[in-house]
Symmetry: D2
Subunit: 333 residues, 4 copies
């Protein structure tokens, strides 16, 4: 049984159906009927007029958002273990034309208002030092932790005070919402978020992610930047159709709930082995090399995460019966 | 009946099947079994070891190739009506970090060796003038014209003489090969081409194009640039599977032949109205506004192309019976 | 006697004196007393509050202005023989992060309102085509022609109509003003110009040029871009002092008048050999290779300008007695 | 008496003389007789064929070097308090087109081989993580510490082992050489350094710094990048002349020795108040706000350096009699 990545999972059956349903002639690029419905569909979900763009990766969603919020000569505050800082191959610098990522420490890849304030205070306002223009946080974080609406709002207030744009990398936004049981609006624009990378691929999607601007005016230049980055697919309807299928009947939320539930079963069995609170679909486990080998010998796949640690990720299609054997095996270590 | 774009067409049924077949758990990004077969499959087609990468648009294929062949301070020679110059929203400048497109005139969007030589001769070799580092041509061209292997080889020889990299934008490469009846190798690396954007989306594909480096060493940095541009999809297997389906049984060639045949039927009916020799699947027609309206009134869709002209594009699924009514309507104008 | 470039001339004696006068300890970068006087001094000259920055080259002045007026995904309209297009080694693309230069033809390197309007009309407003954001003209032009205040104003009106920023490359602005006898304000902001590269180095200066923003708010980001491009010299007072010396007693205008007067003496002798109206300090001459050799044999230095042509440039220190021998030699050809 | 910056000092009298001496007509840009002598003069100093370019700031020297050593998608290792990281307004990112600065900690802004090795070991070699391509160190460091030839060589060996280019920011290289009493070659290319920003402005110069490539082949593209960044001054002879004057009779070394000697007098008086070993011309002092005020009341100028600290910088023209009063005042605190 595979627990190495939610990117490795197969797609929800509704995705394949949606592709077949969209298989009709229509206007190219994003001029088609499916793409035309996107902003309305996401506006309903967020209870606010938003601009929604399809893109193919979380990286490009993140980076288009950052380019919209930060000039080339500015800086973007992020956690020192944020995906944009450590795992996007320099994409933020590419899309922003060299804006500087300014890192902030914090447990579980979370940024606290104090840590943010402290970082801001250390920056001299002169032309010799890069000035911050935006903050980006990841929710759920790279360690599977979750920011509550109140925690996001506290950061949002600091952003407004310092004139910073506010972006949320929501590669696992669905898992965060599922855990918090809150309204998507409360976790985003009501808390001061300007742009959201809304991930679907890790959550049962195939090749479509959404970039949401809560101020639709921010999207205008981004449409040009998307094209300029080679990200305006000519048959965009096959991306839009995937996103619409995900929103239909809250499939995105069902999928996330399933993955989260599977993670909780493992987390409970793992107990004190968990390095971080398990609030989404990732479990970071303290295991010796010997213990890891024992688990692998029983057919469980996962990634090592530095020395003495392992990362396990559950997926939308994991049911209790799928993960219980792993939970048992961990408990038996 | 729609003739406005081959980007608007539905996909070949084999593409949907391939997506379903690939719907199994596998390693993320391009570490999966499908992606792993790409270079071998294209190497067989080209009778040479090549590096093949999946990408999602022709624009990114073109621009990754140009970035591999030209430094930021260099120039890329292209036709003044080339897609990279007129229709990619500044993407070549984005990917190359500001390399300069240096345009060359020529009928039918074709560059002749004389025109190329003449352009090269006008450039002073000093630090004040940008120096050319690469040539890019489109085959079939933006006006549906085709470069023969000998014509490509003549340009390739000039490239070697002047130390220029040589890229071919093959958004409709399949149509060119189908028309010429030549071996794909003769139209590319045997004629001096270093990199090919091999288009599939206009030819019945969904969201996958191929970027081919005939010197596999050129691909190493490009893998990093692809990631850095947000173009490394996490479920890449669904792209690789599309390309493999296209190569299977030469589906790509069958589709192109069908589109070309449909175009020829229209071209023959149009006769002297054709503004350019019809050698692929595009027909540029001299029509008055009144004549265009007459055609549209009969249910034929197409784009106006400036004043007094229209562009019609045939697709992989057009059969003789589909285009004959249009041919008749044109003949009757 | 040298006529190959006004860049080759020695500096006005006032420049060396100014450097000696500024040779006292003061705050680094642009925090010194000399730099602090710049904006006020230029505001007096232009009869308007302006922001004035010292820079070291016309290229960086031009490119900082363009970066202030055009986003990376935009375009800058310029003459096809403009210095920014042909002689700055790709600097505009570097500073703007890849904005596209969109060229316009015209005699004497001048852009007419009709030519500009025609170029604008050919651009489709969609994300596939780069959209123009600014116009830049050179006054005096690369061929020594001059735009009158009315001609500039006609272009300025088009810029406002189309939402374009308007930059003037004034590498030889002094020569233009000297010829026109107009007020510097009439040739710039009163005619709709947003930013001016005000050249001094070709006019007797050493290493300092001025970049003028007629809307001082435009300068804020530019101060950061100047630093980011390595152009914030640590002993900036030695640049500011040069510019202040040039403004003192209208030295800039005296120098330009002298150079223009010298050019007119040559132009009158050359008569119909002049390829362009001589309105500044450059003369483009029709001469055979034999005739050029004849002149050189008499000790006159100048550049060939393609086949059958030569460029001669007069300088601030040329007096009638210096150029009369050349005028005589040309008349005697 | 001013101790706030060596950038604030006046210039050596030889610099003004050199400008007057160079005040003759000559070829523009770097085609003049002075510029032509640069590489030879620096080659003699370094006992090796080098390519030497004049530039106007240390920032552009650093950034041109980094752009020569690191591609846009690569990373540059530097100290977390390096000038390139904290005080160049994002210039390294601008010149490298977004390469990532990867910081390393260390006392006194020095990088140890262990710290470098540890940072390197933490980087996964995949396309998701930016790969380091170069190391840059500052000698003397931002805290006035010095790397010995052996220390530089140990880092140089690590660079070769890991395929990294090696740059030295020598804004105060003269002070380091003066302190070490070593040969400039031992501190640079013999220790594995590929490129040196050789500072002169802080050491009595006016507007000229030198960029030295120990492999002259590295300079070719840099000449284009210098032009493209607007840094090719048209009257370059006035920069070259400054550098030649500095090399003449080892003026650069005399000036640095004088500044260092002045710093040592202060350091000895300050004793345990010194936060870092004083090995160049900077003294970082532990002083209370009250003590700082006491010094200022006696007429001594300097910068606060965070809470409870001050930075004092001595200059080329400081003699013992100039700094003794400050030394006495510090001792008397």
């Amino acid at each position: 049984m595979h627990f190495f990545s939610d990117n490795a999972a197969r797609v929800s059956p509704q995705i394949l159906s949606a592709l077949a349903d969209a298989d009709h002639v229509d206007t190219a690029y994003d001029g088609d009927a499916w793409s035309a419905r996107l902003s309305d569909s996401f506006s309903r979900l967020f209870e606010k007029d938003v601009a929604a763009l399809w893109v193919t990766t979380g990286t490009v969603a993140n980076c288009l958002a950052l380019a919209a919020l930060c000039p080339p000569f500015g800086g973007v505050l992020c956690h020192e273990e944020a995906h944009v800082e450590t795992d996007e191959g320099g994409a933020p610098e590419f899309f922003t034309h060299g804006a500087k990522l300014m890192t902030v420490p914090g447990d579980g890849a979370k940024i606290s208002p104090d840590a943010l304030q402290s970082r801001l205070s250390a920056i001299r306002n002169d032309v010799h030092q890069v000035q911050p223009h935006a903050l980006t946080i990841t929710n759920a974080t790279e360690y599977g932790r979750v920011y509550s609406p109140a925690e996001v709002a506290a950061l949002g207030a600091l952003c407004r005070e310092h004139g910073l744009g506010f972006h949320m990398d929501g590669a696992r936004f669905a898992n965060a919402v599922a855990t918090l049981g809150c309204h998507p609006a409360d976790l985003t624009w009501r808390a001061g978020v300007d742009a959201l990378s809304f991930g679907f691929v890790k959550n049962g999607g195939m090749t479509a992610e959404a970039l949401i601007f809560f101020d639709p005016a921010l999207a205008a230049d981004t449409l040009r930047r998307r094209k300029r980055a080679g990200h305006l697919l000519s048959k965009g309807r096959y991306l839009a159709a995937q996103l619409l299928a995900m929103l239909e009947g809250d499939l995105w939320l069902d999928n996330a709930r399933a993955a989260n539930a599977a993670a909780r079963i493992i987390a409970e069995a793992a107990g004190a082995r968990c390095m971080h609170l398990v609030e989404a679909n990732e479990i970071f486990l303290r295991v010796t090399a010997q213990e890891a080998a024992t688990l692998r010998a029983q057919g469980f796949d996962f990634y090592d995460w530095g020395e003495g640690a392992a990362r396990l990720v559950t997926c939308w299609h994991h049911e209790a019966k799928d993960v219980q054997p792993l939970a048992n095996a961990i408990a038996a270590l």
